[in-house]
Symmetry: C2
Subunit: 361 residues, 2 copies
């Protein structure tokens, strides 16, 4: 049963502000690990051991959003499994393999757009496409039903904003900051606790859903050990969004009180922290765990690109709190602020892309 949690999907639909048209940053990271994923599946997955009578191979993307990245990622996994199946079939007589792909996201994700934007039938190698509405911080699929689970750029979304960070009387009060930027130790601690708790719930649920021997592939963003969030460019952008909100409070478009009650439910862990969270769950063996630079990290991202990307990601959560009609003005302001004070990428510390493969014991 999906557990209740706060839920802020990426921008739906297919217009200029939609996630569909503003997710190339995430896609670059997904593309970056495609070859590695294929190789890993080819070398390490043992179909015969999974089940010699296996006729349906099941794949789940947890937190798939609305495409197109999920379709690329899933296709890549299917291609690799098909090659592996072909190879193993030459030695053992395996049955013909069909694929079933579960696309999971929050119930208020735009599944209509996801389903309508799926690649046309002739290009689809997989047979059965299914949508699974529900928070991945809880079980969404039957026990022992998934052979490969996948999740990309998702686990930094917490199930909720940690308590106390919006409470003026708490030492973990985040003042008028709208994110965990690592400037206030107690705030960082509160976010850490929530992240650890959420990761534990996430992994427990996946451990139940994956078959023994099944794989979980996860990628996303993390901080190198010892690098505080506030030294990264994406933190600067989010703090700038906070500044724009303060400007809007001054012009009466929102209030300071409202801003003080708002925090983004996102947290980027340090690499060792992430590793610790996975190791703590005893149901998996970590098969591979590494970080690399984001493929676009070396590039000077344009202000337009940054504004559109952050709008597609955060407009829903902002709208939910500040009401309709704030988003246009806010991101106009962000674009202007960024063009007046461009981000000095050379001075920023890099965030990293983490890539983990873990196997269900």
């Amino acid at each position: 049963m999906p557990t209740s949690s706060q839920s802020y999907p990426m921008s739906g639909g297919e217009d200029q502000h939609s996630y569909i048209h503003n997710s190339s940053y995430q896609k670059a990271a997904v593309d970056g690990i495609e070859e590695k994923t294929r190789q890993y599946i080819l070398e390490k997955i043992d179909l015969l051991n999974l089940n010699p009578d296996l006729s349906t191979f099941t794949i789940a993307d947890f937190g798939c959003s609305i495409g197109p990245n999920t379709f690329h990622a899933v296709q890549n996994i299917i291609d690799a499994v098909k090659r592996k199946h072909l190879k193993e079939s030459q030695e053992n007589s395996l049955v013909f393999l069909e694929f079933q792909v579960y696309f999971n996201d929050q119930p208020n994700n735009d599944f209509n757009t996801l389903f309508r934007s799926q690649p046309p039938s002739s290009q689809q190698e997989y047979f059965s496409v299914v949508g699974v509405p529900g928070s991945f911080y809880g079980r969404v699929l039957p026990r022992n039903s998934i052979h490969i689970g996948y999740t990309s750029y998702t686990t930094h979304w917490l199930s909720k904003v940690p308590e106390h960070v919006c409470d003026k009387k708490s030492p973990a009060w985040n003042k008028s900051y709208i994110q965990c930027n690592n400037l206030i130790e107690e705030v960082t601690k509160a976010y850490k606790v929530q992240f650890t708790k959420d990761m534990s719930v996430f992994l427990k649920a996946r451990a139940e859903e994956l078959v023994p021997g099944g794989l979980m592939i996860a990628l996303g963003q993390c901080l190198p050990d010892g690098v505080p969030m506030y030294e990264t460019w994406s933190c600067i952008v989010k703090d700038t969004i906070g500044d724009c909100l303060l400007d809007m409070a001054i012009s009466g478009l929102t209030t300071i009180e409202k801003i003080e009650l708002f925090n983004l439910p996102v947290y980027f862990p340090e690499f060792s922290e992430l590793k610790g969270a996975i190791e703590q769950n005893g149901s998996f063996t970590i098969e591979m765990m590494e970080t690399e630079d984001h493929p676009l990290e070396a590039m000077q991202l344009t202000n337009d690109f940054i504004t559109s990307m952050f709008r597609a990601i955060f407009s829903k959560v902002i709208e939910e709190h500040f009401g309709n009609g704030v988003v246009d003005e806010l991101f106009d302001k962000l674009a202007k602020k960024l063009s007046k004070q461009p981000i000095d990428f050379e001075k920023c510390k890099k965030q990293m892309v983490y890539y983990i493969v873990f196997k269900r014991k």
Copy 2:
């Protein structure tokens, strides 16, 4: 892989014209067979024989639309299976049962509304809710994956309008009628051929998806043998919709040519015809097949009720052909025409609700 077919979902969303708020006629039929379904499952399903290690019981609703009827029907099936499971568990040690429910409909069905209108978590007995976009005239789920399939008020929707009925040069030309009203023999024949073909594809796909011993429960509307469509009240309503379109052509809101190119892709078979179609597929045994009166058949349906119901069902297919902005005017006209010339229910012949349970050999 979903096959391509014409696809006209029920009216989405949750406004006054939505299917959600205008599907009580169909619900009455679903309610009418609930007790029978529970009894049948309790008496006849053999969980031990299906699979003694069964831990996930799978149910699929083919052509589920957007609720709430699908949730009622599925809950009823789950309740019965749970009771049966409890009973069998006392004699044999069966494992704890989880449920997975596949909600199937065309990719342009409003799955967002379906997912958002599902009963809240605490009321949900089933664990995993899954949406399956794709035409049921083709495979949509893996082989041997479903224990109970269900379909309600769906199979009268053909995969397409039969060829020739819109072709002026064909003997099967349906003139300016917009449906198969049984007034032109060649038209009836063309619709019959399409229906038989579609049912064959439907049953072939379900035969592959159901596990041996799995059940398929189907209900819908049919004609008693020997009763022509034009003697039923629902045919009169559709012919009246056709008349309204002709009126609109006279006032220039559409054209005769456009009307002549339009036919509803729906066909209600006679009971024996439906039986023949199922018997022709050799993969099932018919366990129960009966007809009964529709629970609302004896009531004088109000013109408002009729207009709203037909609008929720047919507005998409009409909009697709005649363009936006026709629907409001058309159903206003229908309401007026019906109030001037009310349907004389006593003079009409009854359509019947059919209820079939067939078992995968």
